[in-house]
């Protein structure tokens, strides 16, 4: 585990913090959005925010796949399991996301729905082979990271001509969501988004490469630094962003060269392109409908499309009226600006998307950082 320790070295972190502080221009503030939940989690779990100078503010973006999954989609999965008797296979942390009627996949399971936790799309295929008498649906969620395995599972299902396997495809795309944050109609409603640059996704970029962010950096004049999920990666990325801002540059830089290339993983991209196509509209929890931001299954694989197979309709379900997720995900507000934070809305009982997974902005602040809101007497240990 030496590998990991190197990226969590406290002395190096303090050195980086000093370097960042030294480069800041005294009269300005720096706001950077980390898109990925993995970064949000690292920042909160390792206390990175404490090490950054107060002039630097990190804004937590919508990059947690569980958080942005709209309630209506979970309702669909529950409906297939509870009303249509299918086995629904899904990734673990999806089980807890609240759905309509105070349900969740976990609660539906307690009511008799056959819901299985799997660790990969391939496990879902295995379930279908083991249960030939039952319909097995893989509830596929996630960004570009989890999409290729779903594509491979669909290809394999077609090759085997598996009659009882299908996929409820809720895969979403990172670049379109970032664009949406900067230019959607809501931006006017919420006010100017004070974002000076982006910490780009780690795992997502391993697949899609750093290329897709180039046009974005150019068009919106926002620097992007792709960074790994270790806390030192994040700090290094912040330093690189500060430098770009100071120099008036806006390009894509890659801090995560140990895993990310410009082209990404071409084989994975080809598999995805073969099986999926763009969806015109897809609702994101907390962001609303985002055009061309998600994938659906191509007609050639239609027989494995759970939406068609089970005749599922989609009904959007709004978050709590007072939920401020939309503004939080866009960087306009902080979790503590929401009146529901920590009282009505907690990780046990989330009202909005940001509280759903530990990678959401509200949950991360609640779980790891809320002591900062309250002065606490502390004796040095």
């Amino acid at each position: 585990m030496k590998y990991v320790d190197e990226f969590r070295d406290g002395a190096v972190a303090r050195g980086l913090a000093a370097a960042i502080a030294a480069e800041l221009q005294p009269d300005r503030r720096y706001s950077f959005m980390e898109f990925c939940g993995g970064h949000t989690h690292a920042i909160a779990r390792y206390g990175v925010a404490e090490l950054l100078p107060p002039q630097v503010r990190m804004i937590h973006g919508p990059g947690c796949p569980v958080c942005v999954l709209p309630i209506g989609r979970i309702d669909q999965a529950i409906q297939m399991a509870l009303d249509q008797g299918a086995i629904v296979a899904t990734y673990g942390d999806t089980m807890r996301v609240p759905a309509s009627q105070s349900l969740s996949l976990m609660k539906a399971k307690a009511r008799g729905a056959d819901i299985r936790m799997v660790y990969s799309a391939a496990d879902a295929l295995k379930l279908a082979r083991q249960n030939p008498q039952r319909e097995v649906v893989f509830f596929a969620i996630g960004f570009e990271t989890t999409t290729p395995p779903t594509a491979l599972a669909l290809r394999q299902a077609a090759r085997e001509d598996l009659p009882n396997f299908s996929v409820l495809c809720c895969h979403v795309l990172t670049p379109s969501a970032i664009t949406h944050i900067l230019e959607s109609a809501e931006v006017r409603q919420y006010g100017t988004v004070p974002i000076d640059g982006f910490v780009g996704p780690a795992h997502v970029s391993i697949i899609i490469g750093s290329g897709p962010y180039e046009h974005f950096a150019e068009e919106y004049r926002k620097p992007v630094v792709i960074a790994g999920f270790e806390p030192l990666d994040v700090m290094q990325a912040v330093l690189m962003l500060v430098r770009q801002v100071n120099q008036g540059r806006a390009v894509v830089e890659n801090e995560f060269t140990r895993a990310v290339t410009r082209e990404g993983n071409l084989a994975a991209q080809a598999a995805v392109a073969e099986v999926f196509e763009l969806r015109e509209r897809f609702e994101w929890r907390g962001l609303g409908e985002v055009p061309y931001s998600a994938l659906k299954i191509r007609p050639a694989y239609a027989r494995f499309d759970a939406e068609l197979r089970f005749g599922l309709g989609y009904t959007p379900v709004p978050d709590h009226k007072k939920c401020e997720c939309g503004a939080i995900l866009r960087g306009v507000k902080r979790p503590t600006d929401c009146t529901l934070f920590g009282t009505v809305c907690t990780p046990e009982n989330p009202m909005g998307s940001c509280m759903v997974s530990s990678e959401g902005a509200c949950a991360a602040h609640y779980s790891y950082g809320r002591f900062r809101d309250i002065p606490v007497v502390s004796v040095p240990a």
Partner: protein, 351 residues
């Protein structure tokens, strides 16, 4: 003519399975008890064969009692099984009160169709654990449920122990300034069990740390003056994080921990990293947290380290005044964060 004592054919422990007869209260059940449980757990109280056990208690002591239900999948895992776990878990609950565990009772709920060979292995492991701990299983019960209504075996155990009259050890006794000690590295039990879960099987050298801790407790209590140890707790389900939050709530104070001082074995760290889990929330079955008055902390730590089960003991933090009861941690990285209660079951994250 030699008369056979009875005409019952011995149980086929190699190929046999639990069936509904074993729970019907008739001959088959009696035979299972006699040939398996009574033989494995053998001791004078159990030998009486009555519905309860009449037991002696040392004079001048208070009775401590703890009970625990055990449901675990898989039933056997690297380093242990549900049998020894059901002994250790309950003994430790008694020991964490500062009491000497004296007797155990065990109740089995068996599922129809369960292989007798596996049951025998589990019961024998349980017997060995009780023997090693020096605590007899003096009474028990067996029931059988229909196939599909159980998970093979459920075991509920109850333990009683003797607590010296004046001793007060508990979560509410901790106070600001106290030192928090941990007896060893965390997360091994949870990772060992996870590594065997269907669809998750991964190779690991990690074995469960399941162990009876009353010897370690006795050594600790002997090394410091009476009253110096304020709280003892074994961080089982919910892990170290949840245990410390429980204590913080009980005593109405906060805690400040140092991540760098909390031992985690590299393989546990690696497995958690892979699954997106935090070792602070992973179950332990052979570790304890001791909260001790600061002036006796060094002696207490030395006593823990002098015992085989506490060799890797460390001082992980302090109790501090904080009306909100936050458990805070200085991260290895140099930042600070809250170590919160676990919300729900720890579930692997997807990306």
């Amino acid at each position: 003519m030699s008369v056979k004592p009875n005409y019952i054919r011995p149980i086929d422990f190699k190929h046999g399975r639990v069936d509904m007869n074993h729970g019907a209260g008739g001959r088959a059940g009696a035979q299972l008890i006699e040939e398996l449980f009574a033989r494995a757990f053998d001791n004078p109280a159990l030998r009486q064969g009555d519905d309860g056990a009449a037991l002696d208690m040392p004079a001048g002591h208070r009775l401590v009692m703890a009970t625990d239900g055990h449901v675990i999948s898989p039933l056997e895992f690297p380093g242990g099984d549900i049998g020894c776990l059901s002994v250790h878990g309950t003994l430790n609950d008694v020991a964490m009160m500062g009491a000497q565990p004296l007797y155990l009772a065990a109740s089995f709920i068996l599922e129809e169709g369960f292989a007798l060979a596996e049951l025998k292995r589990i019961v024998e492991s349980m017997a060995a654990a009780a023997r090693d701990a020096g605590v007899p299983i003096v009474t028990g019960d067996t029931k059988v449920v229909e196939r599909g209504k159980g998970d093979g075996v459920f075991i509920a155990t109850t333990g009683v122990g003797a607590l010296p009259a004046g001793r007060r050890i508990g979560g509410a006794q901790a106070r600001a300034g106290d030192v928090v000690l941990l007896s060893g590295s965390i997360g091994e039990h949870g990772v060992a069990v996870l590594s065997q879960r269907e669809s998750l099987e991964f190779e690991t050298a990690i074995v469960s740390d399941t162990a009876a801790l009353h010897g370690l407790v006795a050594q600790l209590l002997a090394a410091v003056p009476e009253g110096a140890v304020h709280t003892l707790r074994d961080p089982t389900r919910g892990g170290l994080a949840t245990t410390l939050n429980e204590i913080a709530r009980q005593c109405g104070a906060g805690m400040l921990l140092h991540e760098a001082d909390i031992p985690v074995q590299p393989q546990v760290e690696a497995a958690c990293e892979l699954l997106g889990l935090d070792p602070l929330y992973i179950a332990n079955e052979g570790k304890l947290v001791a909260i001790v008055a600061p002036e006796h902390a060094a002696a207490a730590l030395a006593a823990l380290q002098a015992h085989p089960l506490g060799r890797a003991a460390t001082r992980i933090g302090v109790v501090q005044e904080d009306p909100h009861g936050f458990v805070q941690m200085c991260t290895r990285f140099g930042g600070r964060r809250v170590v919160d209660w676990l919300s729900g079951e720890p579930l692997p994250r997807i990306c």
